[in-house]
């Protein structure tokens, strides 16, 4: 067993263990944190495959932003665990069916003749100065530019939709207009009053 193999098995063990933890942990905050660990270790596995851009982006986007918001929401929930466990046996057959379908699909991919490991020769090792960030950028902006732009438009629609869903006019909020606050002058707030001094009794 060589050094990369040991790293691979270490990361894989941590990944599988933390992924199991995500679905078995009783506390949702623990689940979310274990999911963070799962993302982080799978980024480590991608680094072993020399996909450094994807690995770092996984950490940057999913761990750094998406999971933070996830945790944000999960921590605010006041979750009653008994209530969560109530419908377990009712939904168990459905969940088991889904798991079975997924397992079958994975088996079809991994064991099939078209997708087996022997169909995919290991890519040649790249030189140290090979930048797959540049390579990805070149491909995205030339060959796959339409797909890329389509994805961008879909994301834009999602942003607009998210804002439109939460935008509502409420009466009685105390939100302030910063431009107005900044434009305030002394004369608007202060009234100079000249008063004659009063005599002491």
């Amino acid at each position: 067993m060589s050094f990369p193999d040991i790293i691979f098995y270490f990361f894989s063990t941590v990944l599988v263990a933390s992924a199991l933890g995500v679905i078995t942990a009783r506390n949702p905050v623990h689940s979310a944190l274990l999911l963070v660990l799962a993302f982080f270790t799978s980024a480590g596995l991608w680094l072993l495959l020399e996909a450094e851009f994807l690995a770092i982006t996984l950490v940057l986007v999913y761990v750094g932003a998406v999971m933070v918001l996830f945790l944000f929401v999960v921590m605010m929930l006041d979750i009653n665990l008994d209530y969560l466990r109530e419908g377990f046996w009712k939904w168990f057959p459905f969940g088991a069916f889904l798991a079975l379908v997924m397992a079958t699909e994975m088996a079809a991919v991994l064991m099939g003749k078209q997708f087996g490991a022997d169909q995919m020769p290991a890519p040649p090792a790249r030189a140290a100065d090979y930048s797959n960030t540049k390579e990805l950028g070149r491909l995205i902006y030339t060959e796959y530019v339409y797909a890329f732009e389509l994805a961008a438009v879909i994301l834009l629609v999602a942003i607009v939709a998210a804002i439109a869903l939460t935008l509502r006019q409420r009466i009685g909020t105390k939100s302030m207009d910063v431009a107005k606050q900044v434009a305030v002058k002394r004369e608007d707030r202060i009234r100079m009053v000249s008063m004659p001094s009063e005599k002491k009794e």
Binding site: E52, V59, L60, L69, L71, F72, S175
Partner: protein, 366 residues
């Protein structure tokens, strides 16, 4: 070096020798970075107290000295503080989530140190010279927020929780502006490698530094950096006048000190990155005799020192932002500015070569 390599080869065999040699070398190099960094953090706290004291016309710490030498008054203060922190008891509040409570400071501290792996200190001196250095740093600094959130939640305290929520929202918002500001830099340097970014600013004088064409981005980056490190005037996560001390209100002793160390090493990291990306890193301001004689490392330290002074200056000068003002600045001011500037840089890059190679654009667009 070669002798050590041979020694490892003889001792552990041809297969494991080289691997273990690299591991041992890297561990030594990591210590060579982390130990001076910790010393810098210790004396940054001293500098902060002294500088803010002078700005407020006080004297600041001036009692603790080495070996009773009077004119070193105050210089042993950080050491005394460290000893005090180590001696104190770590109290874990009842009802706190013990594992996460202890894990939180570590989770803040580890990314703050890990980011230093790709920082170049001079043309050859860098621990990991990786292609995607800039991305790596962004990824590592974005991990730091977990420590704050977990600390706030695991403390089982309302004040800590409020601080954690504020910090999470703030850091996520300012990360976007920071990322966009760095996109401009990588468009100009055409590289994500920090060493290459500095080399892109070579060319004779400080006119070549990216701070000139990207001045708005420099401001956005630096202010976002202040916000990301939860420093004043963006320190609503601590907000001692409103929520006591925010996320670390329940922490004491060494656990609190680890948060403290992480905050200050993050400050140094932000200042170092701003230096490398915008202020030409180790390059002298003018490439003529008296300036070029000073080694590049000294120039780097001087620039970092100036930016760190700005951090302390801000803290002594500005009142704390209100929460809605922080959000407005991040989302409605910084992000539009960065988006416009990305467009501007993109347009300039598409200019015909005759314009791009003329003064002043030829200073920055190689």
């Amino acid at each position: 070096m070669e002798y050590a390599q041979q020694l490892f080869g003889n001792f552990f065999g041809p297969e494991w020798g080289p691997v273990l040699y690299v591991v041992a070398k890297d561990v030594l190099l990591i210590f060579a970075i982390v130990l001076p960094l910790m010393l810098a953090v210790a004396y940054l706290t001293f500098a902060e107290r002294k500088i803010i004291a002078f700005m407020q016309m006080r004297v600041g710490p001036n009692r603790v000295t080495f070996f009773g030498i009077p004119w070193l008054g105050g210089w042993a203060q950080p050491i005394a503080d460290a000893v005090k922190a180590v001696m104190k008891e770590i109290i874990i509040p009842s009802g706190a989530n013990k594992v996460l409570f202890v894990l939180a400071p570590v989770l803040t501290f580890a990314p703050a140190l890990a980011a230093w792996a790709v920082v170049p200190f001079s043309p050859e001196v860098v621990l990991a010279d990786i292609n995607a250095g800039l991305l790596y740093i962004l990824a590592m600094t974005s991990m730091g927020v977990y420590g704050v959130i977990i600390a706030g939640w695991a403390s089982n305290s309302k004040y800590a929780f409020l601080g954690a929520m504020r910090s999470a929202a703030q850091v996520v918002s300012y990360e976007l502006a920071m990322g966009f500001a760095l996109v401009c830099v990588l468009m100009m340097s055409q590289s994500l490698n920090l060493g290459d970014i500095v080399k892109g600013q070579q060319g004779g004088s400080l006119l070549n530094w990216y701070v000139l064409p990207l001045f708005p981005m420099f401001l956005v980056y630096f202010i976002s950096g202040v916000a990301e490190t939860n420093r004043a005037p963006f320190d609503v996560a601590e907000g001692e006048s409103e929520i006591v001390a925010g996320f670390h209100v329940e922490y004491s002793g060494m656990a609190f000190t680890v948060f403290f160390l992480a905050e200050y090493s993050n400050m140094i990291l932000v200042a170092t990155l701003a230096t490398i990306i915008f202020l030409g890193g180790w390059l002298p301001p003018i490439n003529i005799a008296p300036f070029t004689l000073i080694p590049g490392f000294i120039w780097l330290i001087l620039k970092i020192g100036f930016l760190l002074f700005c951090f302390l200056w801000f803290r002594a000068t500005f009142p704390r932002y209100r929460y809605d003002q922080i959000m407005r600045l991040g989302w409605k001011v910084f992000i539009p500015i960065t988006l416009v500037w990305i467009l501007v840089i993109g347009l300039v890059m598409q200019f015909p070569p005759s314009i791009r190679n003329a003064f002043p654009l030829n200073l920055w667009f190689h």
